[in-house]
Amino acid sequence: MGFLMTTIIFVVVGVVASVLVRLCCNRGPSTNLFHLTLIITATVCCWMMWAIVYLAQLKPLIVPILSEGE
């Protein structure tokens, strides 16, 4: 699963979450926008965290050197 694929999965999850929130708690346009902001912020934060860790391991400069115990 490449980088692009997982990014698309994150986007899809975000969209599904916002649709669900809109369906279950529809309380007027300003509140809906607030909920949408929360979902987008959460999705972006989670995606950034994953992407940073993924990219850091893409072409690493060092490799695991096992310690004596293993």
């Binding site: 997982t6 965290m49 850091a56 096992l66």
Partner: protein
């Protein structure tokens, strides 16, 4: 940008619209109107009588009466808790009692209680005295019997003198008129506190020059000391002496030491009779005391059932009168005038409520309610719900938002728990936090009505924050691949394997990467390897920089939206743009370099690149070249950053001065930059005066401070985000140590006891150090990152909160 203009306004982003209103209430409907307004709870009245002392106000008598009543209620509360009766509030009995009636009833109850208390005090005192008398009789009788039996010839004359006493049976030595010639051995019996007994004896010895015989024995039972009200050990004593002067001295010493003297008859039979009488009286008194206590407890119980309702009622009345005191009488003295703030959406509701009040109070004139122009800044009001309340409190703890300023709580709801989780990332600990927060949430109703300790109060108030923190911690724990510091292979096979099948050089040259990177999170093979820390440190430091640059950019973008909302194009062009250019040309470029280095796997040294970008921009990059055109790009970015500094420093004050002169001195309309004037310079000066003088040097210095703060802050704030790395490293190391050195060590032994002990110590260490201390620590640091680094980019936070007159708020702010 057009897209943003078309969006509806977002909930919670800016304060509700507030309007200044004036209410004119005729006197007869004043009390009712204010009570109804208190029920509604959406109007904050200004105190128009600020310069008057509390005694000059109109309704001072009523306030005093309410104060008296709440004092009586507090007295009842004390008595109830002392008697140990649990108050079971019965809200069912909602009798609508008038205030005067309540006052009368309260004074009746108070008088009754005070009388009962005094009576039972007296009874108790008598009971104590009788108890002491009984003890003295028991023990002293023993001495006297012994003294009689030891009628040794050598002491015969002494003993005879005892017998030579009149058979008058007037046992009360103290009252017996002694003829001065009578010199016989007499005695005084009494009881004294055990602690004072030794000094008492010595004093008696000195006072009578040794001519006395002291005998004492412990009383055996504990007696209630009337002075201190506690049960103390007492000692019964008998002093044998002769002579009138000795008697006086001894009596005075007894008085000084607080010893109570009780007369004891010498004959055995009389002693027994007296003892029987005293015991009888004691049991009678006990019964009486019991009956009295029961009666009192019944009265207290009946009060206790209504106490809560009464307290609320008195509080409401006091609130109403305090509010009435804030209003002014108008010229005709028939109306009360009040000014206050209310949210614009609440105006119809308030109007309706006031109409009801004037109808119900049968007044001839209706209540007038209309808008007023305001020169001062309105209070800030966010309509938070059960979920957003805690996050808004966190932001308000730093500073209440200025009226209609962007509210950082909108983003903090997510970013605060997220940054916490970056520093706390371990999904085992996250599960424990989740458990804790779910317990708090599921027992919301029960815990909400109880009175909790201050720590539990804070934890309970922030239960939804903790819930989000736990959820994000689980996510970050899965990414860091740590479950109580143990990695798992949940998301597929590791990307690393040995170079050859014998794994001979695994300890020297290490493994190789043979597949795509581990799909979700940190590869489990890193844990325990020797190069784990260099890899993770590099990863986490770069992650902190990336997250920090993103959050700071978000802050600057929020300042753009603020400037656009207030129509201040000056701010957009001369503050937002240079700030964006400066931050992104330096630290945004660094973030870009990090991503490029990761994607290309280059060996360039980023420290070197950044430092030499400043020191030697035109020099050759050599092996630090990451992409084509890097040198030219760096020179361009450096120039842009250098240009951005005077761009944010100089133009704005000059333009403001030009606008000011155009507006006031020439009296021409020109470019009406009114809104930005009022907001940008001197936010704290009263906005009542429109023709404030424009102090150019002040404005210039303010702008200079702002710019220098931004420029220097760009470096320091970016470095400050490295605490994300530091705390997550500390957390991971601590949990590794606990796991390896406590649990694994204990598990290595065969004995079950050691294993269980190791498990227990591991659990304690995890719970107290990792779950509590680290949670608090990560919470604090995430909070600081929000308050300083994020909110410092756009937030002013110098508003004041909307505090309406509301009965609900009064009930909540408990004693």
């Amino acid at each position: 940008m057009k897209l943003f203009d078309d969006l509806p306004s977002m909930d919670h982003l800016r304060s509700e619209d507030m309007s200044l209103v004036q209410v004119i209430i005729p006197v007869e409907s004043a009390h009712r109107a204010v009570s109804y307004l208190g029920e509604l709870g959406l109007l904050q009245l200004k105190d128009l009588n600020e310069d008057k002392s509390p005694f000059q106000r109109t309704f001072v008598n009523q306030v005093k009466r309410c104060g008296e009543m709440s004092r009586k209620l507090r007295f009842f509360g004390d008595q109830i808790s002392k008697a140990g009766i649990t108050a079971s509030p019965c809200p069912a009995s909602q009798q609508v009692i008038d205030l005067e009636e309540l006052e009368v009833r309260l004074s009746e109850h108070e008088a009754e209680l005070l009388e009962m208390n005094a009576n039972s005090e007296k009874l108790r005192q008598t009971y104590n005295e009788l108890l002491e008398f009984k003890l003295v009789l028991l023990k002293a009788g023993g001495f006297l019997v012994a003294a009689q039996n030891h009628a040794v010839p050598a002491e015969t004359e002494l003993v005879e003198s005892i017998y030579s006493k009149k058979d008058d049976e007037s046992l009360f030595l103290l009252e017996q008129p002694e003829p001065s010639s009578k010199s016989g051995l007499r005695f005084i019996s009494g009881i004294i506190c055990k602690s004072k007994e030794l000094t008492f004896e010595r004093m008696l010895f000195r006072a009578t020059r040794g001519n006395m015989f002291f005998n004492q024995a412990p009383a055996g039972e504990q007696v209630m000391d009337p002075v201190s009200g506690e049960m103390v050990e007492k000692t019964v004593f008998v002093v044998f002496f002769s002579g009138e002067q000795a008697k006086n001295k001894i009596l005075k010493i007894c008085q000084a030491f607080g010893a109570s003297c009780y007369p004891v008859p010498e004959e055995n039979s009389k002693q027994m009779q007296l003892t029987r009488e005293v015991s009888l009286r004691l049991s009678e008194l006990e019964a009486t005391l019991d009956a009295g206590n029961r009666h009192r407890n019944k009265a207290l119980a009946s009060i206790a059932s209504q106490l809560w309702n009464w307290i609320i009622m008195v509080k409401k009345e006091k609130g109403v009168y305090d509010t009435l005191n804030m209003l002014n009488f108008d010229v005709t003295k028939k109306c009360l005038v009040g000014e206050g703030w209310c949210p614009t959406f609440a105006k119809p509701q308030i109007k309706e409520v006031l109409e009801h009040a004037s109808i119900h109070s049968n007044s001839q004139v209706g209540i007038i309610f209309h808008d007023m122009d305001s020169f001062e800044s309105p209070p800030t009001y966010f309509r938070t719900n059960w979920f957003t309340h805690a996050f808004q409190e966190i932001v308000d703890a730093y500073g209440v938002a200025r009226y209609q300023e962007a509210n950082p709580a909108v983003y903090s709801v997510i970013t605060f728990p997220f940054l916490f989780a970056v520093m706390f990332g371990d999904w085992g600990h996250g599960l424990c936090l989740l458990l804790g927060s779910l317990i708090l949430i599921l027992r919301e109703k029960k815990l909400g009505s109880q009175k909790l300790g201050s720590f539990m109060e804070m934890a309970f108030g922030g239960r939804y924050v903790v819930l989000l923190m736990a959820l994000f911690s689980i996510y970050c724990g899965l990414i860091y691949n740590e479950f109580f510091s143990v990695p798992f292979q949940i998301f597929g096979k590791s990307a690393y394997k040995c170079r050859d099948s014998s794994c001979s050089d695994a300890h020297t040259a290490g493994l190789i990467k043979y597949r795509d990177p581990y799909p979700f999170g940190v590869d489990p093979r890193w844990r325990g390897s020797r190069s784990e820390l260099p890899f993770l440190n590099s990863l986490k430091m770069k992650m902190s920089i990336l997250l920090g640059v993103s959050q700071m950019n978000l802050g600057i973008i929020l300042s753009y939206f603020d400037a656009k909302f207030h129509g201040s194009s000056l701010d957009v062009r001369y503050q937002f743009m240079p700030q964006m250019i400066f931050l992104n040309s330096l630290f945004g470029y660094l973030a870009l370099l990090i991503v490029i280095k990761w994607c290309t796997g280059s060996q360039a040294d980023l420290y070197h690149v950044m430092i030499y970008m400043f020191l030697n921009p035109t020099g050759d990059l050599g092996e630090n070249k990451l992409f084509w055109g890097q040198k030219e790009l760096q020179i361009l970015l450096l120039l842009m950053a250098i240009v951005a500094v005077p761009w944010m420093l100089f133009p704005k004050p000059f333009i403001l001065r030009k606008l000011h002169t155009e507006r006031f001195q020439g009296r021409t309309y020109g470019i009406l930059g009114t809104s930005e004037m009022d907001l940008d310079h001197d936010p704290d000066s009263a906005r009542r005066q429109h023709h404030e003088d424009f102090n150019f040097s002040e404005v210039f210095v303010h702008q200079m401070i702002h710019s220098i703060e931004f420029v220097l802050g760009a470096v320091s704030n970016t470095a400050s985000y490295l605490r994300l790395w530091a705390l997550s490293l500390a957390h991971s190391e601590l949990s590794t140590v606990f796991y390896e050195k406590l649990l694994l060590l204990a598990w290595g032994y065969d004995s079950v006891i050691i294993r269980i002990a190791g498990l227990a110590v591991f659990a304690f260490a995890t719970a107290f150090i990792l779950l509590m201390m680290e949670t608090l620590s990560a919470f604090l640091h995430a909070l600081r990152l929000h308050w300083v680094e994020f909110m410092g980019k756009f937030y002013h936070g110098d508003g004041y909160k909307f505090k309406p007159f509301s009965f609900k708020l009064l009930a909540d702010e408990e004693d």
